[in-house]
Structures are given as structure tokens and as C-alpha cells.
Symmetry: C2
Subunit: 525 residues, 2 copies
């Protein structure tokens, strides 16, 4: 298959009319063919018109048909074979096993949402049957289901070219909910995006769905993206990326005549708490686990452990020494883009020059372009508490250890944290009461709490929460990973005294979908 | 019990230090004692500090204890006896049966949320057990529950001095979710608010809860309200009122360093579609039902039928004649406040002078102050489609009939509508296919669709949706009436590999709360 540099507006391959983006191999700084001319406002308009035309039909597809569509996308992505893997490697600098694993995760994610769609629990069917004899007033027959919000704009992430991009979690959950999707591809991996976008397009065609169910746009500046979020036919936005990018989309969404929800996953430093007994008993093992999590994938994970909090003393000193030694021996790794590399270098330099932070270790330097040199910093709690810049995310393999004088300082540091995707506790039995006192605060700060693990590695399952209070995300009420992500794209509608023939299948009296309804206050078995 | 004019900050009765508000009996335009001096930013600060201090404890109250608290509030409201009824009548101009019914609804609402809290489905417990042998990577143990967002600011509504005010739906659902509540009382009924607020305070005390679980503030301008929404300890806002008021709160909430959700129920004209066969067969009965719904409570319902859509012709002419006759004979009714009366008069005058709207009927004029004179207007679809001002809500007993030339104009009028709380269809068997074609559009426009009923009358039950797309509300993903309202004040948290002793009761391995969990992808029986 040859890359064309074209967008996909419904089933039409269309060449953009704006400035072209071109992927760069970050391992060589060399541009990759082809160029991807950007979409204009007219292209956005065409994609939105098609999505809108498709919405009423797509949202009422039978659950089985919608599930088969998601599975067909997974099949088509697998059918791309090695071409997809090699293009993604070239565009991201990520190694083959990582890209292969991410492809597996992406397809598993689509199939997991297919299972979720079939099970139908997300319809949250509630039925209160009529009570015509009730005094003083009769009760009508009332039935509630969830319906999709409408066409969704998805902005692909740089750091997961498959799992959080064109057919990633946002797209899969929006399609599962019954929303057409228009993806604005991330400029760092347009070739990967084209390949996956065409795979989705083939699935649309094979499943006989209206073409507007899916479109893929390119664009170098903010023109197409802001036009997309501002279009009245777009009813929600999914985004994974920087804090400034997420906030810009939120502002555009709220400036509309009809504001819409934006699900932006933005910024998190993922605090790790090392409790005294654990630190005493296994400081070196903790250092190994920490540095492995920190440096994995050049630290380019939303859940990278960017902050370590512990009580000062000999045990923490030993941990720092062990971690510093491992960081110093960490090989350099290619970062995703020159822009991400430059931002990382700037962040690390800024912290290295900070009056109240010390460099504990720096990893090996690389010879090639865009090489992430791992960094470990140390500061004191009293400084962390007074200087908000020490909470700034450094996207890459850098972390800051906060030394606390006592338990009260630990508590203060945690209370001082912004919202986070994750918070990790390393503890032994003797630490349990200590930890118990901090869990309520951590629950207020983060979407996922881990004990004796590392935050990188986000399972796609029912119980996952990849979300958290601002600025981790723009909406703490949701998750962008796991099956609960479908709930982001739904709203409830109530049908009062509808004749059975007008009711949707989910609400008909005979319950043909065999859903476990909340019927007159009782959950059906 | 003597009214004191004091706020309730936790268990302390405190006199405000800002300009006082004073209720006005709208039937006489006479001020009522006592004066209610307004709260300052310092009072807001005190209430927020108490709410924050109460949060971690209150949110982990056992479900039974929290349910008993809600029931205790209902008991305390009932114990207020006739003093509450008489004060509410004096402050609102609403008749005794209405206030008594609303008190019953308010207490039933609290008890319904108590049942919902006990059942615990809202915790949405999801468990994915560990798969230590899984290849290539083991799966950790992952458990998700919903936790409350944090302290909630509630702004009482003018038109439901009990059911949507101090201990109304927003307060009940936030308390049910585990959120402390700070109410900013509506200036139109401070005495009613004080009585109910003190009832809530007594329930807090009797249940042994931390005092910060509930506070009640007064305030004449926007100072206290904006300070409340801007306080970093407030994590969500509930509001029922005008579009401009709701939008102002949304802006304040989004201007915060940490934006928070605002659930504002604002503006709806609640279209009613009269289909040909129904109109032909029972136009007069429809006119009776319509005018009864329109004039009930002086039309001061969020779900008042402010728009009628039908095909022009003799059947519609007969309906208009019958409805006009009934409107002309409608007695004037006291409106809630002079401000609401003046806004209604202005809206009605403006429409009466509109070049493309005709007055079909006006009701009886009243002698007393603030008397709502019912109004019925008629326009043509082509004018409605080109002039957006014809969609403006007239809060009160006024409605506009849109005459459509054909089915296509009906479809256009519906597509042209802003978001609505409700949409009503009156149809006979012969209209079913006609209606079927319009239901998808109506689903996109409204939160509740009714067949052969009237939109006033909002049942408090599991299946109710009192919500809808903007500007009906600021967030179409929710409802402010019914048990699903609790979901507005929750966010998910995931616990990974937690030792059982650190897990909350809802997630413990032994499932002590006997919840029907989603366990490894299967719903427990």
C-alpha cells in the first residue's frame, strides 16, 4: 500500500489545500514522504456535514452491528501488517516491540468496546411503569435510556500513535457510544494516521455504514482544529496532549453558542510515596522498579513517575544513591519529536538551574538527534511547598524526589499537589496505618491509586480510571481508558407514555435486548 | 419558631454584614419581616472552610447513616408544620394546596434519595481481579468505585421554594452523593429558606455529622454567589434559574484555576406537537389540556408548554379558537416576584408588538399587584424560522402557536429549535408514522419526550430526565430531577493492588455491602 498524503472525508480521499505537514524520523531528523497538505475550514465543513448526516442512522444501529464494526476496524488494522509497524517506528522513534504491543493493545481495546456495546449496560435502562390509580395523581409510564451526544472530534496523541490516536481509545469509545468521529491527526505521525484511517474507512464500507461515520483530517496550525471544535454539529471533543493545547480546546468549546464537553487528558506528574518500612526493607528494589518505570519509552507516558515523596533519612539516601546509579547508566533514547525533545531539554535545564533543586543524576548522552537523557532531581519539601514551578511536568524520563522532614510535611506536600492521573504508595505492613491516613487525600487528588506497583502500564478493562482532577484532565468525572470511557459520549433521554411501537428496542415492554433494567426501583436479575 | 434573619454557617446562626434582602409578598407588594442581611466573602470563606473540613469524614459515612440523615431532613421539614406552609405562601403568592403538595414532594424526594443511597448502585463498583499468570504481562487487581466530587454550591430556584431550593433536588442529590452543601438562598423566599435551613441543621446535629455538611447563606447582589463558585474548595455547582444567571455561574466556574462543573437548569419553551389525526379527532380536549398546563401555577414551570407546533388548516383553527376562549376566561394569578412579573409583562408586550406574531387571546386582568395575565400568540413557521427572538422564553402563562404549511415546515421548525427540557407529541394511531419520522430529531433536542400528556408535572423517580441540550441546561449529560441526579456529583477512582484492609467497604474482597459488582466483565446476580 502506498501512502497518498490524502485526508479521508467520508469515503473520499482528498488532498488538503493548506500548508503541508511532513513527518520527521526523530532518530535521524530526516523528513519522511509524503507531504500531508492540511485541511481547510471547507474540509472541516464537509466532514461535519457527512458526520451529521450519518448520526441519526448510525446511532440506531443494532448493538450487534455496531460491535461488529468495531471488530472490523481491529481486523483491518491487523491486516495492515508490517507496513503499519514500520511506518509507526519511523515516525515515532519507538522500537518494534513497543509498536507491536501497542497495535495489540489498540485492537484489543476495539474488541473490548465491542463486548461492552453488546452487553448494553451503558444504556442504563430505567423503567418506572404507570400507576394509573395512584393518589393524588397517577404516575405515567417513564422509560430512560442513554443516547449518544452526536459527532465527536478526536485529537490524536503524540505518544501513542495507535492506542490514543486515529483508532485509539477516544475513537473506539465514541464509535461504541454511537457517535460519528472526525479525527484531527497528530502532526507527528501522519503516515501511521493515514494507514489506520484507511483501515477504519474500509471497515465502514464493509459494514455498510454511512460514510460520514468516520473522517480523518490533517492540519499544521490550529485552523482546522479550532474550526472542528467550533462547528455546531460537533457535540463533544476527545484530546490527549499538552495542558496548553487542552485548555485552548476547552476555551474554544465554551465560546460556542452551544458549549460542548471537552475530555482533555493533559498533565500529570504521578506522585510516588515511599513509606518508611518499605523504604527500609527494600530500597534498592524500589530504586530498580522506579528507574525502570521512569525510563521506559523515554519516559513519554502520561503516567510517568515524575515525583517521589519520602521522609528524609538514611533509607531515602540509600534509595537516592541506588536510583542515581541506575539513572547514570541509563542509555539515551530517541524521543517522539524534535519539539518534545526540545521541551524536555528546556524543562530539565530549567530545573537544573533552580536554586532549590539539585541534580542527583543524569543518564547517558546520546549521539543521535533527539536523545532523551534521563534525569533525577532532589529538592526539599519546604521548597516544593513554596514554589509552584517545581510541580511542572517534564514530559520525558525526568523525576524529582521531595525529601520531607516529617509526616506532617508529607501530608502538606500531598495536599499541595495539583490533580493527578495516578498516585502510588509503596508500603509494608508496618506502613499501613500511615498510608491509611493519607488515602483520603490521595483520593481527592488522583484518578487511580496504586499500592506496590508503578503507574506506567494502564490496563484496558472495566475498572480502570485514566483520569483525575484538573489539570490531569479537564473533567474529573470520567476516564479515557477502559470501558467506562463510553459514558463520556452519552446523555439520558426519558420517554413518557410512549406507545410501544415508538419506543426504541432498549425500552420496549418485551425487553427484546434482554437488558437488566432498573424496573420500578429493582434491578432485574 | 421565630424567624431570625440569620444565616447558618455550620451550626452557627450568623447575621450577615452586607445589604439586606427582604421578602415581598407578591400579592400585596408589601415587604415581610425580618430583614436578611447578606453574607460577605468572609462568610463564604467560613462556610467553605467548614464544608472542606467535613468532606473527608462525611463522604465515608456508612450508606445507612447517610440515608438516615436524608430521612431526618424530611422529618424535620415535616415537623415545621404550618409555619412553613404559611411563610412559603406569603413569600411566593402560591396557593396553600400547591405549597403543601410541594412540601410532600420535597420530603418524598429526600426519602427517595435515601433509598438510592442504601441500594448503592450509584457506586458503580467494577472489579477486575488479578491475572498473575497472564502473558506477556500479568494483570493487577483493579477496583473502581465512585467518590463524591467535594463541597457543592447550590443556588435555590424562585419557582419551587421547597422542591428546588434549600433542601430540594440539588441539595438532596449532592448530600446523597457524599458532598457537603452550601446553599445560597434565593432572595425571593428567605424566610422559607431559613426555616428549611434550620431543619437541615437540626438533622445534621441529630445525626452526629460534622457541622460543615450544610450551610445556608443569604446575599442580595452577586458578591457572595460569585465568591462561593470561585472558592477552590467548592467542586461543583447546582443552579435552577435564568439563562443569564446560569451562564454567569458557568463563566465564573470556568475562570477558576481549577474549573468545576456547573449544572444549570435554565431556559426551555417545551414544544408541543399536535399531529393531524389527533387534532382532528379531539382538538377541543387538547385545547383544554393545553390551557390547563399553560396556566397552572401562573405558568411558572420550567416545563411550561410555551410553543405549539401544528399544520395549518381548519382543525388547527378550531384548536386555536377553543384555546383562545379558555385563555380569555383564565383568571389572573399572582406571580412569584415583582421582578418575574415585570419580565413577563415585558416579554408579552414585546411579542404583542412583533410584526409577525398575533395575539390570539389574553386572559383576565387582575386587580392586585403582580397578576399574570395569560396570553396566547400565533405565528407562521416561515417567520419563526427566520426570527430567533420568537424562541425566547416568556416565563409565565404565555405560549406561541406556530402554524406550519406542511410536514416539511414542521420538520424545519423542530430542527430549528434550541435545546429543550421536554418535547410533547399528541397523536392518534394514524399519526404514528408521522411521529416516528420526527422522534430522532426530538431526541436530539430534548431530555424528555412525552406522548399524549402535558410537560408540567415532573415525576421524581429513577427514569425521569429533567435536563436537555443547551440552553435548557448547561450540561446535557445529566438530570436534575430523579435518582440519576446523584450521578452529577461523583467521579470514579480506581484502586490497584490495594491490600484489603486499605480498600473502602464497597470494594473489599468479601463485598460486605453486597453490591452487584461488575466482576471480571460479568454483572453479579
Amino acid at each position: 500500500m502506498t501512502l497518498t498524503g490524502k485526508m479521508l472525508i467520508g469515503q473520499q480521499a482528498i488532498t488538503g489545500s493548506r500548508e503541508a505537514i511532513r513527518a520527521i524520523d526523530p532518530a535521524t531528523d530526516k523528513p519522511l514522504e509524503p507531504a500531508y497538505p492540511g485541511g481547510s475550514c471547507e474540509h472541516v465543513e464537509q466532514a461535519c456535514a457527512l458526520a451529521w448526516a450519518a448520526f441519526d442512522s448510525y446511532r440506531e444501529t443494532p448493538l450487534t452491528a455496531r460491535a461488529e464494526f468495531l471488530e472490523a476496524i481491529a481486523d483491518e488494522i491487523e491486516a495492515l501488517g508490517d507496513e503499519l509497524v514500520e511506518r509507526a517506528m519511523a515516525e515515532t522513534g519507538l522500537p518494534r516491540p513497543r509498536i507491536q504491543a501497542e497495535r495489540g493493545r489498540t485492537c484489543q481495546q476495539l474488541r473490548t468496546f465491542a463486548r461492552t456495546v453488546r452487553a448494553g449496560e451503558w444504556l442504563d435502562v430505567r423503567v418506572d411503569t404507570a400507576l394509573p390509580e395512584r393518589q393524588p395523581l397517577p404516575r405515567p409510564d417513564l422509560r430512560q435510556r442513554q443516547v449518544p451526544l452526536g459527532p465527536v472530534a478526536v485529537f490524536g496523541a503524540s505518544n501513542f500513535p495507535l492506542a490514543f490516536s486515529v483508532a485509539g481509545g477516544d475513537t473506539a469509545s465514541a464509535l461504541a457510544a454511537g457517535c460519528p468521529v472526525i479525527v484531527k491527526a497528530h502532526g507527528a505521525h501522519p503516515g501511521t494516521s493515514e494507514l489506520v484511517g484507511r483501515a477504519v474507512g474500509r471497515a465502514v464500507e464493509k459494514c455498510g455504514l454511512p460514510e460520514g461515520v468516520f473522517s480523518l483530517l490533517f492540519g499544521s496550525g490550529r485552523e482546522a482544529g479550532i474550526a472542528l471544535v467550533s462547528d455546531p454539529r460537533i457535540k463533544a471533543v476527545g484530546f490527549t496532549g499538552s495542558r496548553s493545547g487542552g485548555i485552548a480546546l476547552c476555551k474554544a468549546a465554551l465560546a460556542r453558542p452551544e458549549p460542548i464537553p471537552v475530555y482533555a487528558e493533559m498533565s500529570s506528574i504521578n506522585p510516588v510515596l515511599l513509606f518508611p518500612a518499605a523504604l527500609q526493607a527494600r530500597g534498592e528494589a524500589l530504586a530498580q522498579g522506579f528507574v525502570a518505570s521512569l525510563t521506559q519509552g523515554a519516559g513519554q507516558f502520561c503516567t510517568n513517575p515524575g515525583l517521589v515523596i519520602a521522609r528524609q533519612g538514611p533509607a531515602l539516601d540509600r534509595f537516592i544513591t541506588a536510583a542515581a546509579d541506575l539513572v547514570q547508566r541509563s542509555p539515551a533514547q530517541t524521543m517522539l519529536t524534535p519539539g518534545i525533545f526540545n521541551a524536555y531539554e528546556a524543562g530539565v535545564s530549567s530545573l537544573a538551574e533552580h536554586a532549590h533543586a539539585q541534580v542527583a543524576a543524569a543518564g547517558l548522552r546520546g549521539e543521535d538527534p533527539n536523545q532523551c537523557q534521563a534525569h533525577l532531581f532532589v529538592t526539599r519539601a519546604r521548597d516544593f511547598l513554596t514554589d509552584h514551578t517545581l510541580q511542572a511536568e517534564m514530559f520525558g524520563a525526568a523525576s524529582l524526589i521531595v525529601q520531607c522532614a516529617d509526616d506532617d510535611e508529607i501530608r502538606q506536600v500531598i495536599e499541595h499537589l495539583e490533580g493527578q492521573l495516578t498516585a502510588t504508595l509503596h508500603l509494608d505492613d508496618a506502613d499501613l496505618e500511615n498510608a491509611r491516613a493519607l488515602v483520603p487525600t490521595l483520593e481527592r487528588k488522583a484518578g487511580r491509586l496504586l499500592v506496590n506497583g508503578w503507574p506506567t502500564g494502564v490496563e484496558v478493562c472495566d475498572a480502570m480510571v485514566h483520569g483525575g482532577p484538573f489539570p490531569a484532565t479537564s473533567d474529573p468525572r470520567t476516564t479515557s481508558v477502559g470501558t467506562a470511557a463510553i459514558l463520556r459520549f452519552l446523555r439520558p433521554v426519558c420517554y413518557q407514555d410512549f406507545p410501544d411501537t415508538l419506543l426504541p428496542a432498549a425500552l420496549k415492554h418485551s425487553n427484546p435486548l434482554q437488558l437488566r433494567r432498573l424496573l420500578d426501583g429493582q434491578r432485574e436479575a
